[in-house]
Amino acid sequence: MNYPQELLPQTDYKLIDCNVENCFLLRLVDDAIQEEMINPETGYIRVNLICSPRERIYDLSVILLGVYTQNHIPIELTREGKTKFGGYCEPNSTISDPPVYNDHFVLNKNKRFWVSKISSISNIEVPYSRDNSNHTVRCYVKHTPTKWNFWHYSLRWESSEGNLDDMDEKKRGKVLQRMANEARVMLSRMANVEYPQIEALPASCYQKKSPVAA
């Protein structure tokens, strides 16, 4: 089986530069977690399925739906595939030797996911109080192509308290707690486990020059 070419970066690709607010992001769920996706008690997605234990909730890997569709969901990188193709890359990188079936990727038809409309989660500022002072935390999405998937995005959080790297360890820990908590609250409310109706993304959004109409 050949790796789908449409997922790979191309020499004429650029970072997606059009408004994707009405598009959907998809998050693949770690197979190691066997729980039901939806908590039957509350009707909301389980917070432990929003991200895997190995990842930090305030910087989540997600995939933009459009060219990547439900047909691609079963694609799963092997350990070797993650090493070779898991890293970030330029949008116009040349992947001369694409992932090879069984060596770098397999198909897992039981792969689970959740989706969320970007406008439901992105650029929403959430006020919070911590020890009697007021701040905000904001969720934003960033196009971060990887060697295996040009449509890879990152779902990230930032605080009005400043750059995390500039904070002392204690304050950083507290701010990260707030981000993680807000991610759990927001995504458990907004995430859906049903595959949505999606529209094709115009090529002009990601190609440096749109193909000339015949």
Partner: protein, 188 residues
């Protein structure tokens, strides 16, 4: 009425701190009893004098309490090594936050142990959803070092968001819930 309930009524005018201390003693006593089926039959005479006209009658709280304990046992087992407190101390901390939320007489409630050494609760009563994340201070068995982050939604509107010291946050949450006719009896 058991002696430890009588004490609460006698000193009820002596301030919030005493209430909190007594509440901790009460929780410790209940934990010692360690019997969910007798829990609300014991606590009802105590709570009823402070909750008139607020919460709906306690009906499924016993069921929810058992569900929370079972959810905790199952999930905690899977993450035991991530925590550094002993089983008893951790379970006591879980019971404390669980019990505060159960006093709201929720319609629905869930508990999840997260990968950040916290307990994430979703509590639903009528159109109010209360998200509480209890960050457990693993170095010491002192509740005051634990942190709570609370978010309250009414429908889809966020009406409260606060994070801080465990008891300070509970004190700030109580009047917010009271606006929606939900009481945490020990703090009412």
């Amino acid at each position: 009425m058991p002696e430890y309930f009588q004490k609460e009524i006698d000193i009820s005018a002596h301030g919030q701190h005493l209430k909190q201390l007594l509440f901790k003693m009460l929780m410790a006593k209940i934990a010692t009893d360690n019997c969910a089926n007798t829990y609300y039959s014991t606590i009802l005479p105590f709570t009823s004098h402070t909750t008139v006209g607020l919460n709906t009658p306690i009906d499924n709280s016993n069921t929810l309490l058992i569900k929370m304990e079972n959810a905790w046992k199952k999930q905690y087992e899977e993450r035991r090594e991530e925590f550094q407190l002993n089983d008893y101390e951790l379970t006591e901390k879980m019971r404390l936050s669980t019990d505060i939320l159960l006093q709201c007489s929720p319609d629905k409630m869930s508990l999840e142990v997260t990968t950040d050494k916290s307990i994430f609760y979703t509590t639903i009563k009528n159109d109010i959803t209360i998200y509480v994340e209890h960050y457990i201070e693993v170095r010491d068995f002192v509740d005051d070092l634990d942190e709570l982050i609370v978010t309250v939604f009414r429908g889809n509107e966020r009406v409260f968001n606060y994070g801080g010291n465990f008891w300070d946050t509970v004190n700030k949450l109580q009047p917010v819930l009271q606006d929606y006719s939900i009481a945490i009896p020990q703090f009412a």
